[in-house]
């Protein structure tokens, strides 16, 4: 294999990561490094937590066969509305949180019923859901804003000035607990990398060259420690990050290590064969869409905590942010559209662009232009990759 071919293969395999690095570098230059300041790193995570959560759920739906859920933005708004109104009336915070998750799950299950058992196309069902639940949000809120004043709720779910994990080690000028978590995460990552590599070698399976594994591991550890240090220099780990990490870990495990995850991929690959092999495909569709509703409920919680209010306009275009992240994260020929890490990278790319433009003071209309250009670039790359592969 020539050097040129090797380089091209490398670029194709890691396109989105390279794009993320280049875009971050561009904004670091244009903002004189401000985007890499601790507070802005924190903002990237806090302001885009809903995208990570929704994109993960959207991936489950897309895996079943290119199906999507257009109602997530409206469900975020409606679930958030229900919770905000409950807390305004003095109800217990945890009851309100449970209610928001249950509302999201019930909406997801309701839509899942029509999709899985009545065979209404997902596009139609979720489009109807988008309109219904946006309308219901307006009915409940009557066009007004409901404030969320429960300080504990806001702190736990990532809003306000104190929505960070406390420093249990009482560092002086730097959050030691945050550093400890970063080091622990890197240690666990290295442990699993080494263990997986050794297991493959022992089983006689094909494994990447050791130097490639080592270089990749070193780069990942360096990036994680850089971000951890930045967060530690500000106020530590944002609570929103904990929820995102929890969701990502759970769903990475589900998609890669459980039979339900395998069934999702199987249905997306060949639904007829999956059904004929005895798997209840209707149940899997039902689970995928119910799960999307549940995650939309969680995104609703994170949204109203961050914005400390519920408004009828919240959640607009959230579904397109999630779908855009899935497409951008999977636009490389290597990744396809099928992995949680790919989706997270897509969401991070959108998040960095949003924050970078805000720091630069770019007008909202110009931000739309940039978003469109990013999508266009992903589309062109998709077309060009396809041409090269045929």
């Amino acid at each position: 294999m020539t050097t040129k071919t090797k380089v091209l293969n490398f670029v194709q395999k890691y396109t989105m990561i390279i794009a993320l690095v280049l875009v971050t570098g561009f904004f670091a230059w244009r903002t004189n490094g401000k985007i890499l300041m601790p507070q802005n790193i924190t903002n990237i995570i806090s302001q885009n937590a809903y995208v990570f959560v929704l994109a993960t759920g959207m991936l489950m739906c897309i895996l079943t066969g290119g199906n999507i859920d257009l109602s997530v933005g409206s469900v975020v708004c409606f679930a958030g509305t229900v919770g905000a109104v409950m807390m305004q009336k003095g109800m217990n915070m945890w009851l309100a949180v449970l209610a928001m998750l249950v509302v999201g799950l019930i909406i997801g299950a309701w839509q899942a019923f029509w999709i899985a058992y009545v065979k209404v196309p997902p596009f139609i069902t979720t489009l109807a859901g988008m309109l219904i639940f946006r309308g219901l949000s307006n009915v409940v809120l009557q066009g007004k804003t409901v404030s969320v004043t429960n300080a504990k709720f806001v702190q736990i779910f990532g809003g306000g000035a104190n929505c960070y994990v406390p420093d249990f080690f009482h560092g002086n000028g730097i959050n030691l607990f945050c550093l400890f978590v970063g080091v622990l995460a890197c240690a666990l990552f290295l442990f699993f990398t080494v263990r997986n590599y050794s297991a493959r070698k022992k089983a006689g399976l094909e494994a990447e060259a050791l130097y490639k594994v080592a270089i990749r591991a070193v780069i990942i550890v360096a990036v994680v420690m850089f971000f951890t240090l930045r967060l530690a220099q500000y106020k530590g780990l944002p609570m929103a990050l904990l929820w995102v990490v929890l969701v990502v870990l759970i769903y990475t495990y589900i998609t890669s290590k459980t039979t339900v995850g395998r069934y999702l991929y199987a249905i997306g690959g060949n639904e007829v064969a999956t059904r004929l092999s005895g798997i209840n495909t209707k149940k899997i569709y039902f689970l995928a869409y119910s799960n999307m509703g549940l995650l939309a409920g969680l995104a609703g919680i994170l949204t109203i905590a961050r914005l400390t209010s519920a408004q009828p306009t919240y959640g607009q275009s959230y579904e397109m942010d999630a779908i855009g992240s899935c497409f951008i994260g999977g636009a490389s020929a290597y990744g396809g559209v099928g992995t949680v890490p790919g989706v997270i990278i897509g969401a991070l790319l959108m998040g960095v662009i949003n924050i970078g433009m805000s720091i630069m003071g770019v007008d909202a209309n110009y931000q739309k232009v940039v978003k469109g250009l990013v999508l266009l670039a992903a589309v062109i790359f998709d077309v060009v990759s396809k041409k090269k592969n045929t």
Binding site: N67, I323, V337, V369, K371
Partner: protein, 96 residues
């Protein structure tokens, strides 16, 4: 969710349908972005210069339409590639 599986390699057809659906959504989003730029300009709610807003909006809409055409053509090609030859299709027919 179609049961005419015996005419096509279902795995290839499913992949073709999946990709076409996702790409179509992206094309729709791109078109919507272009439309919203022009709409805001017409309503006087945009800070962009009219020439710039119209140019970019039309470019996005044109790109979305071109991509939509590409998606349709690619989907047709992939479906044709997924079609089973007659002998295989006969073998694949379920026994009564």
């Amino acid at each position: 969710m179609d049961d005419r599986a015996f005419e096509y390699d279902t795995a290839k057809r499913a992949k073709a349908n999946n990709l076409a659906a996702l790409r179509a959504l992206v094309a729709a989003y791109l078109a919507w972005l272009g439309f919203s730029l022009i709409r805001d300009c017409v309503r006087g709610a945009s800070t962009l210069s009219p020439a710039f807003a119209w140019t970019v909006g039309l470019v996005f809409i044109a790109a979305a339409l071109a991509f939509a055409f590409y998606i349709w053509r690619q989907w047709k090609r992939e479906l044709a590639a997924a079609r089973l030859p007659k002998s295989e299709a006969n073998e694949a027919e379920p026994e009564p």
